[in-house]
Each structure stands twice: as C-alpha cells, then as structure tokens.
Amino acid sequence: MNDILQLENVTMQFGGVVAVNNLSMHVGEGEIVALIGPNGAGKTTAFNCITGVYEPTNGRILYKGKPVIVNHPSGKMKRNYAGLCANDYAEERVLSPTPDEITKMGIARTFQNIRLFKSMTVFENVLTAMHVRAKANVFSSVFRLSWKEERKMAEDTEKLLAEQGLLAHRDDRATSLPYGLQRRLEIARALATRPSLLLLDEPAAGMNPQETQELAQFIREIKEKYKLTVLMIEHHMDLVMRISDRIYVLDFGSLIAEGTPEEIQNDQRVIDAYLGVAEDV
C-alpha cells in the first residue's frame, strides 16, 4: 500500500509554546485514519499544518510521495526553537504552499466550527467549491463563453447534492439547515473540490448517538464511492473505534501511541493521557 500522506518530524511552535512536537505519521491510500487525543493536544494544529493554514516551524510533509511542505527554523526562531531535528531539513528548499494550493493538489477539509458561506444557498455553497476545478478565465466567464463548463458545474452540483441527500434543501440558506445537515453540507462542499484525501475535523461534534451512527455509515460510503482516503479528528470513541483502520494518539503535542483500534484500547499510556495518572497509589 502506498502512503498518500506522510508527516516527518513536524513541529509547530508559537512563540515559546510547542503545539505540535516532532509528529511523524503516515496515511496509506484508501485508509481511514483517526487522530485522537485530549483537548489541546494539538490535533487541529496538525490539521492546519497539513492544509497550509499554518507554516510548520520544522519538518516535512509529503503528499503522494512528493514533498509539498518543508520548513526549518530560521530567523528569531532559530534561537528559540525548542523542538527536535532542527538541522534535518536545514539544507532543503523551504516549501510553504497556501491553503488553496493544497486544495488544488487534492486535499480537502472540513472545520471544527462549521464554516459555511453564510449568505449563500446550499446549492451555491457546493457550486462555489467547484470553482477551483473550473478552467475558464475571467473574460470567458463574464462573457459566458464558458457556459458549457458552467452548466457542467451546475449539473455536478445537483448530482452531488442528490447523493448526499441534500437536494430537498437545494435553495435554502445554508445556515438555516439543522446542525447535522450543515456538517453534511460541509463534507459535500469539500467533495466538490474533487479531493483524494479528505480531512475531517470533528465531524460528529454535537451529534447524538443515532446521528453519529449514521455518520459512520456515511463516511464509509463516500470513501468507497469517491475512492477517498480519510484522516479525521474525533472525540466520539465509538465512532473512531468502529470505522478507523488505524489510530494516532496525541498528547501535549507529542505522539504517544499508534496502532489498530484494539491496540489503542489496551494501551496504558493512552488510558493515562485520557484519565490522568493516579499519583497517590
């Protein structure tokens, strides 16, 4: 199995705070991998590094075997750097693509606190995400020379909405949808950019057990249908244990365990991280 995503010694330091410390992980093609850990463990920061929102302080990220993000401490950070492997990437060319470039490569994401386009309808939200794959330039777009492409985009959007069961809400304002559907719409919108790798940031947050169960089914379905690889952050352990192939556990920015759901469930360090170590025994 080929790795679609590899993180090598990724460290993210804000001032004196090391939010992600020397994180190395890999995600194989077609896998569902979960990233778990207590609040503030650095999971979302790791996501933000992968998607180009933050520029990691040190380390390398490869996508489909090619380095896409590379950095090493420089300037003021050179003196204050508190992580490891500072010199490993010093010789390499720094790569720091913007989030939209990452999306164009084929990595799409959702957000922990839902970020839909507020003023737009459900249909427009998904249609907007198709813009990234459109080839028309401004002129042909304004003068409608690219109407064929526009029509194709609209048709694809309809199809996607139908598949996600959102077609009934086609012309509703996105923010007027119930919470569960808003999450689903965010996933649909991410799919519209035609990703190979989908990053889900707490997709089950705020859902009840019934909805969570449906979500598990849904994630499996879209993974098969669109031949996706899924990396997700999640707190609902039953969801994580049910659908993940492998799990990484972060605590205070560092990786403390990795393995299959069974291995993780029985890992003493993970239990300690979640429940705290009993000191006075």
């Binding site: 939209d100 970020r115 386009f117 003023s119 907007t128 991410a190």
Partner: protein, 372 residues
C-alpha cells in the same frame, strides 16, 4: 432554463428597453438645458461608480476608499487623450506648460484608456496592500486618493497634467459624435449606454463563477481558501476590475462637466459614493442605482432651495444659505447608517415579484392607517 427564470429575464429586458426608450424620447422632446438631463446624466455616472464600489465593499468584502482617486485618474486620462493635438500644441489649454503628449484619440479609446490607467494603478497598489487585513486597505486607498490628487496638481508634472489649472476642450458630451459622422451623439443616451454596458458587465461578473468566489471570500476567507480559492488573486482581480470601472465613470464625469480639475476629487467624494452604496444597500446592484438617482435628484434638484434661501415656500436666507443642503444630507445619512443600516434594498435585487409585493404591502399599510 426554467420558465420562471426566463420570465424574469424577459421582464428585465423589457424594463431596461423602456428606460432607454424614455431617455431617447426625452432627449428629442425636452429642451437640452432641462435640469432633468443633469439629474439623469449625473445619476447614471454615479450609478456606475457606486456599483463599482459595491463590487468591492458589498460583494468581495474589501473596504476600499480609493474611488475618487481612480475617478481622477480616469477623468484626466480621458481629457488628456481626447484634447485635439493642435489644441495641445497651442496655448489655449496648456498656457504655462508645453504639453508633451502629441497625439489625440476618439472618445471610445479615451474611455477605455481611462479604465486601463485606473486599473493599472489599482494593480500596483493592490500588490502590497491586498495581502493585509482589510482595515489597511481602507487607509491605504484613502491615502492613495489624497496623494494622487496632490500629485496631479504638482507643477513638475505640468507638461502632462497642466498643473493645478483646469483641462478643457476635450471630447465632452457636446463634442461626441456618432461614429464616422459629424452628427452629435445624444448626450444623455451616450452616458446611459456607456454606464449601462459597464454595469451589465459587472452584473455578469458577479453572477459568474468568479463572482461566487468573491462572495465566498466575503463570507469566510478561511473557508474560501480551503475550497481552493486563491485569496490574493481574487481580491486583486476584484480590485482591478472595480477600479477600471471607477476610471470609466471618472471619464464620463469629465465629459459631463466640460472642464476637469484635480481639486474636486476629494475624499468627500469617495465618502458620498460610499454613502450612496449604503443607502442603496450593501450588496445590491439595483439598490446602488436607485440610490444614485435619488441622491443626485435630491442634491441637484429637489433640495436646491436649501442652499438658495427658499425651501418649500419658506424664505429664510440666514438659515438656508450655501452648504445647508449638504448639512441636512449628512444628518439624513447618519440616521440611515444608524437606524436603517440595510438601506433601500438590503442585499436583494429589484424584481417584478418584489415590486408587486411591495406595492401590495404599501396598500395594506395605508388601509391599516386609515382604519386606525
């Protein structure tokens, strides 16, 4: 295309055709010095610049205050391009300087050049500024507008800009002719055609894939970026296009005024345009147009008396003296900004259905009032 949409388009087309027909009829019947023409021409010019500002502030979420500066660039470019070469060589316009621009062009080329020069400057300013938070854009564009106004009056640039003196004898509305003939172009119609085509292009842009990307940036920059929209490139695009049309409207204003001087393009002018956009509704094209005509009609026509000593039959020359109209205006505007911040149209567009329901609602309100 479904029926509803087609009907909407047909109604829109009929309405627009009716407006143009009305302009042609008025132009043939009324005497050319009628105040109505001033209102129509200036209203159309302000519509264009208000819509161009709305493209930035309302649809892309960028707070720019450079409109007057870009209009100035457009006005000067148009004037300098279209002053006939022999006039430039004589001392009729360039009395204190030797004009170094030896060629002249027609009105259409002048208009396009006006837009392009404004767009070029916008591109250059946008490069550093659009990468920053939008507050900085506001102050940088405001600063740019003030500086460009000062620079155009600088005597070192006199051979191009004629220094602080005014430019005239260019292709103003009375000198524009029908193509390949000497027959004068009906002036109001000319303004309406140029402004109309420009606004149409902006509407087409807003409803295209790029327009949706602009709105996505306005709604949520982070999400837009995660959907693969390059923030900088799209902001720059919106900024350059908006400035292009601000330049064109500046050229039209120059043509409308017969003379042009850098002095008039103050920051107050930008403020006025912004306030027109707010009155019309941020994010509504038809709102901007309605507000422009309303604003111009009020200030040039209906409220004139406030400056002239007599208003609604009340004569009070001490109170109603020069400047009172603008004072009343600014108070009205503050009331709108504070209490009716959605403006006339909110972020909706004028449509037949909305118009009908508005009329009905109006009737109901009246009935209710009568009953009470």
């Amino acid at each position: 295309m479904n029926r509803e949409k087609r009907n909407h388009l047909i109604r829109l087309f009929v309405a627009i055709a009716a407006v143009y027909l009305a302009v042609i009829i008025l132009e043939m019947t009324l005497r050319p010095t009628s105040i109505l023409f001033t209102v129509l021409r200036k209203g159309a010019i302000y519509s264009l610049v208000a819509v161009s500002m709305n493209l930035l502030n309302g649809f892309t979420g960028l707070f720019s205050l450079g409109q007057a500066g870009f209009m100035l660039l457009g006005a000067y470019t148009y004037a300098i391009f279209t002053i006939p070469a022999d006039v430039k060589a004589s001392d009729r316009v360039y009395r204190y300087y030797d004009c170094i621009i030896g060629f002249d062009t027609g009105a259409l080329a002048g208009l396009i050049a006006a837009g392009l020069v404004a767009a070029l400057f916008a591109f250059l300013i946008g490069l550093p500024v659009l990468r920053l938070k939008s507050d900085y854009l506001a102050i940088a564009t405001l600063g740019f507008a003030e500086i460009i106004r000062a620079i155009f009056q600088w005597d070192v640039l006199g051979p191009v800009t004629n220094g602080a003196n005014l430019l005239r004898e260019y292709k103003d509305l009375s000198r524009i002719t029908l193509p390949f003939t000497d027959i004068p172009f009906p002036p109001t119609l000319f303004v309406f055609i140029v402004a109309g085509i420009s606004i149409l292009l902006i509407v087409l842009l807003i409803n295209s894939s790029y327009g949706r990307a602009f709105k996505a940036i306005r709604d949520d920059e982070t999400a837009a970026e995660a959907m693969g929209i390059n923030l900088f490139r799209h902001k720059e695009l919106a900024f350059v296009i908006s400035s292009f049309f601000a330049g064109v409207s500046g050229a039209l204003l120059a043509a409308f005024q017969y003379t042009v001087q850098a002095q008039q393009f103050e920051s107050m002018m930008t403020y006025e345009i912004l306030l027109i956009v707010v009155i019309g509704g941020i994010g509504s094209i038809s709102g901007s147009c309605i507000a422009s005509f309303l604003y111009i009609a009020l200030s040039e026509w209906w409220l004139r008396g406030l400056d002239m000593g007599k208003f609604l039959g009340i004569a009070a020359p001490d109170l109603f003296r020069s400047g009172f109209r603008k004072l009343v205006f600014s108070v009205i505007i503050m009331i709108i900004v504070l209490f009716f911040s959605r403006g006339i149209m909110g972020d909706k567009e004028l449509s037949y259905a909305r118009f009908i329901s508005w009329i009905k609602g109006f009737g109901k309100k009246k009935k209710k009032g009568a009953a009470a």
